[in-house]
Amino acid sequence: MTTPTLLHGQVAVGDELAELAYPVTATTIVLGALAARDWRPMHHDKDFAVNRNGTQDIFINTPNLAAWFERYLTDWTGPYGRLQRVTFRMLGSIFPGDTMVFRGAVTEVGVDATGCAWAALDISVSVDGDTKTTCAARVALPVTADDNPWDRRGDRWTP
């Protein structure tokens, strides 16, 4: 392993991830929708969003928000961190002009029966203190510098 990464032993319950604040523009939202192949107009057409959906503006689509959560997690783990599962709960929308803020904390750490080490986290994205989406995530982490969660397949990968 030559690429820097986070090892399981360096993680403890209660650890907090560095906050990520990002100013959202219309470009952020349109780029994300098209990257996710989501052609629905409420993600690129303000007139449709306001007059048909009744929202204040176009808003970030859910698949792109998932990509934001993944980026936030792997900024923390490095490339050896391997996502096992994520659960999203959508509470509100994110619009141009918002500054979205990602926060996360480790809620549990463990090693499964196959020897795969993992950390569970609660992550959220909020705007002006209002939580817009929560994400409960579990990510596999290397135990040692010689361990690589991505090598696991079949019975050795039980996410």
């Binding site: 690429t3 780029l31 990257a35 192949r37 052609w39 980026r71 490339p79 996502l83 994520v86 990968w157």
Partner: protein
């Protein structure tokens, strides 16, 4: 399959429905566009030598799994497009529940998705609850899994959706 009524449920729980092959192979360009859209600098997706070291070659970000099934905005000779999560709409129709919300969405990741993969998906109804009343109205909860496999038959991901189909307080059955 079409409208799923109460009498149909027992027979289709656990049965794969609506098998669908992605319209195009997983491609590197979309991987970069997605990473760019969220400013994801993970070297796994940008540096071939890191991808070789960590994952034996390039992979797609795991959360992109549903991207490979969104149909082109237009395609020649296409007359209809299936709704994503068709089973959800079949239940709404068959159980006469005009409104519905999704409460949770869980994705479990298995074998990595790689450029060139051609993915296949199907939907599986896992459960339908007895009738419940919430602040939204009276209806039923259901859980639908969407399973994704690659062209080698490896499971790559399972998405689980919990939906609640309901009638608002003033809505009559069959209205």
């Amino acid at each position: 399959m079409s409208a799923i009524g109460l009498d149909d449920i027992e027979g289709i729980i656990g049965v794969p429905l609506y098998e669908e092959v992605g319209e195009f192979p997983v491609e590197q360009g979309y991987i970069w566009t997605t990473c760019s859209s969220v400013e994801n600098g993970n070297p796994l997706f940008w540096e071939p030598e890191v991808a070789e070291e960590v994952t034996n070659g390039p992979i797609a970000p795991p959360t992109m799994v549903s991207v490979w099934f969104r149909p082109h905005h237009w395609a020649p000779n296409r007359t209809t497009t299936g709704l994503p999560l068709q089973v959800h709409f079949d239940l709404k129709e068959g159980l006469d529940l005009p409104e519905a919300v999704m409460s949770d969405n869980t994705i479990v990741f298995h074998e990595p998705v790689r450029p060139g993969d051609r993915l296949v998906t199907h939907q599986i109804l896992r459960s339908v609850s007895d009738e419940k009343t919430t602040k939204l109205g009276t209806g039923r909860f259901w859980v639908i899994d969407v399973e994704y496999h690659n062209q080698r038959g490896d499971l790559v991901a399972v998405e689980s959706y919990t939906g609640f189909g309901y009638r608002r307080g003033s809505q009559e059955v069959g209205a």
